[in-house]
Amino acid sequence: MSLARHWRLQDQRYRLMGTQCEECGARMLGRRYICTRCKSRNLQACNLKGQGAVYSYTVVYDAPSGYEGLVPYPAGLVRLDEGPLVAAQLTDVDIEEVYVGMPVEMVTRRLREYGEDGLIVYGYKFRPKLKDQV
């Protein structure tokens, strides 16, 4: 478990940082150096707003170490309004209520812990969009 490994990802974990291509306009999740669509190197960092809709979803019953305490937990691929997909856990929702197309928004939540005296990793999850915003 390395502190630096998580610290250096704070922009993408807390602010859902993305990359925008200045040539073709494509937006990508996280930091990229070469556009995945047009191969341009003329890219700029951008913030993604964290609003989108469920593209697909699952409920995980057999989890990797570090996530057993959460089972069963819903996770999804979310299509962000700006275009990119993002894989994330879904939160504040009943498993039965999730559907493809459900409007969701990013929130910051605890992702995992490394033991009693260990690091607590925070990052984005997605919850159903609050009604007054839909």
Binding site: L29, T58, V60, D62, P64, G66, A75, A87
Partner: protein, 384 residues
């Protein structure tokens, strides 16, 4: 470029081998393959192994296996491409012989999985995904494949039970394979009732993690010339990659790397999908079989599941798959799976598949890493 032949092969049964370690399993498959190939040693040993470090604390496994298999001194290197490690190792062996640099190479796939269980194995398997984006969200290959399956069901209007024919076929074919882990058939009803692992994927459409090793010996034409036994020729070999993270792919339901690698292999072999007599796909999950069939041109997009429902993937169908049980029925020792596939196609092409024998001259394998970020395709041709 020179022709490359498979002159020997060997395999251990896939199961939880409590009493046997990776070096033990690998060695027995190597000795069996060398005997059949009628050679004493080789110019190099390529070892497909995905998780030795994660699961058993043993990296540097190629030198270790070379030593225990009586090949001390021989060049040996491990090849890692997650679930595609075995296929990637065969590909490197192929390149070595085809290029003229080496005349006899041994390719072994080995995985020792049963020393750990449950979440620890799932954590190891999750290392094939994009750790910073997928792994940290608690998503391992089963969760990611479940996301593909749910979207597939949504886009192509099908249900979970429609995927049952893949697992039913694999288990049926494993019954007669003495090297298979699950030598018993399953029913559609059992498939429907099986416990969910990552909804909509259940225990009965997930290939079981288990221990095993398989080996092939690859030779150049000049070495083959002195042999009396029939051999299999590798007539197509190609590999390609895609984004590791599902979210970075334009259309996650199209396995781009699988398509690219199969096109390369078809072109080299000079064949079309209609000329493939059997296909061993990477059926870690039923959804991956469906997507592979589509990427390889056996079905159009959204029709892979229909192909299985119509019975075309059975031993008597238009494109038999998982003819010796596949990953689901034979078992899934991760880094070894791609080599098992090659061994099984050799059995079919040489008429040694017993009760599962299909009328085959040209067979194909496809080894995938992760959810298809690595794809290695091989096309083999039999002696007739």
């Amino acid at each position: 470029m020179r022709k490359v032949y498979i002159t020997g092969f060997g395999q251990t049964r896939v199961q939880e081998h409590w009493g046997r370690s990776a070096r033990d399993l690998a060695t027995s498959s190597i000795l069996e393959a060398l005997e059949r190939a009628e050679v004493e040693g080789a110019d190099a040993l390529y070892v497909g192994n995905a998780l030795g470090g994660e699961l058993t604390g043993q990296e540097h496994i190629a030198a270790l296996i070379a030593d225990f298999a009586g090949l001390t001194g021989t060049e040996a290197v491990r090849v890692e491409a997650a679930g595609g490690s075995g296929g990637a190792a065969v590909r490197l062996g192929y390149i070595a012989v085809a290029s003229g640099l080496q005349n006899v190479v041994i390719v072994t796939g080995v995985e020792k999985m049963s020393d750990l269980a449950g979440p620890a194995v799932e954590e190891a398997l999750a290392t094939s995904a994009d750790e910073e984006y997928e792994g940290v969200q608690g998503l391992s290959p089963v969760g990611l494949s479940a996301l593909l399956m749910r979207r597939y069901m949504h886009e192509y209007d099908c249900e979970r039970r429609d995927f049952a024919p893949f697992s039913v076929n694999s288990h049926q074919n494993a019954v007669n394979n003495e090297y298979a882990m699950f030598r018993r058939p399953i029913t559609v009803e059992a498939f429907e009732k099986a416990r969910l692992v990552a909804d909509p994927i259940s225990l009965l459409d997930s290939a079981p993690a288990a221990d095993g090793a398989a080996t092939v010996v690859l030779c150049s034409e000049q070495v083959v010339g002195t042999r009396k036994r029939a051999t299999v020729e590798i007539v197509g070999s190609a590999s390609a990659t895609d984004s590791v993270a599902l979210h970075d792919r334009g259309n996650p339901l199209f396995l781009h790397a699988a398509h690219e690698s199969v096109q390369g292999a078809y072109a080299q072999a000079g064949v079309a999908p209609e000329q493939i007599d059997l296909f061993e796909p990477h059926d870690a999950f039923a959804i991956l079989s469906a997507l592979s069939l589509e990427a390889c041109g056996f079905a159009s997009e959204g029709q892979g599941v229909r192909l299985a429902m119509e019975g075309e993937i059975g031993l008597g169908g238009s494109i038999p798959i998982c003819t010796m049980g596949g990953l689901k029925g034979r078992g899934y020792p991760v880094g070894a799976a791609g080599v098992y596939q090659i061994v099984e196609v050799c059995q079919q092409l040489l008429g040694e598949a017993g009760a599962n024998q299909v009328d085959a001259w040209v067979g194909m394998t496809q080894s995938l890493g992760g959810t298809g970020a690595t794809a290695v395709t091989h096309i083999l041709k039999g002696p007739r």
